[in-house]
Assembly symmetry: C2
Homo-oligomer: 184 residues x 2
DNA sequence: CGCACCATGTAATGCGTTACATGATTTT
DNA sequence: AAAATCATGTAACGCATTACATGGTGCG
């Protein structure tokens, strides 16, 4: 799937592996992230498959940059993927839910502490979606006006993050309340 | 992490690999699932580590069963894990969001069809949480009354699934509406 | 002087899926 | 007669993380 993230960005502009990580971090990173090492490895295999091609740009006083561009074959692969419907649900793993499931014989205070810690983290993330994420979209559109057609969709994925975090916080509040006031 | 799922169930009762998959499917499976092949492989390495031990039970007209039980070391590992707080957020990957992010140059009708298909799937899953999941908890408590202390926590994880699916459907409705009525 | 940034990669390890392999019994 | 259930596992492969490896520039 990381392949399609890469093809997606290469459909916007040419880019290096290093820069790709930067772009991913502030955009698709909220729902599809990758480490640099994986990005470099994936770029390599994608070039071997003919989905992308690269040229090396020499720089003075900086390491050489390997700049990637999408091939016709790569564009076709991206379109084919976009047009293929997802026919099942992805089950998301969640370690906190797992812990809660088996937490009956745990000390209540320790459990509550952990739930409150998670609440803080989700609160922070919510604010990130509400503040930085909106700004990041605006800035990208200012820099690349030809991508303004993409911005509404980026906004929809940002909105998902907002709703997800609101839901998670709501559930944590409910859950904390139930554990604080058992069997009422 | 699958190790802790297994330790968790083995803290309830002894069990075979085959049965473990059954229990996981209808309970933690909503937030932590595994294939049989992975379960068998994990059981093997856990026994080597001394977290669990097994005995073989011969059966007539059925294959032998290898029944696992938790060791003291295993119980300690489970407790230690439960008491260790999770200090960061897990980022959940979502292929649908990824697709939407790069969908600007896609045919609108194809995209809408895909979103509506997802809506159906989430609607089904929501009903599963609201119906089967509640019943499954009740039945387990009837069968193992000593686990009634665990049931409220299982219910909390079920509730998460319900809220998650409601949120996802709400977001899909919003998103479908925006794509049907662009820039109003 | 030390840290962050730019820029590239490889190797080892772990987690997870798919496919392969077997075979009797029970249900439809 | 075919499919599902019970019951066990191994092997190959793919995806992802962590650690290793290198080295110059710019900033505080």
């Amino acid at each position: 799937m990381l392949q399609y993230v890469i093809l997606g960005f290469l459909s916007y502009f040419t880019i290096t592996g290093y820069e790709l990580e930067r772009y991913i971090n502030v955009s698709t990173g909220h729902f599809w992230h990758a480490k640099l090492s994986q990005i470099y490895a994936t770029l390599k295999t994608m070039e071997q498959k003919g989905l992308i091609r690269s040229t090396i740009e020499a720089q003075e006083s900086r390491p050489d940059r390997r700049i990637y561009e999408i091939t016709d074959e790569g564009s076709k692969a991206l379109q084919a993927w976009l047009n293929t419907p997802i026919t099942d649900l992805e089950i998301k793993k969640d370690a906190l839910l797992l812990k809660l499931f088996f937490a009956a014989r745990m000390d209540h205070q320790t459990l509550l502490m952990q739930l409150r810690l998670q609440r803080d983290l989700h609160q922070q993330k919510l604010q990130q979606y509400q503040q930085e994420a909106s700004i990041a979209i605006e800035e990208t559109v200012n820099q690349y006006p030809e991508l303004s057609i993409d911005a509404p969709l980026w906004e929809m994925t940002r909105r998902f993050g907002e709703l997800y975090e609101e839901m998670y916080i709501r559930w944590l509040d409910e859950t904390i309340h139930k554990i604080e006031n058992p069997s009422t």
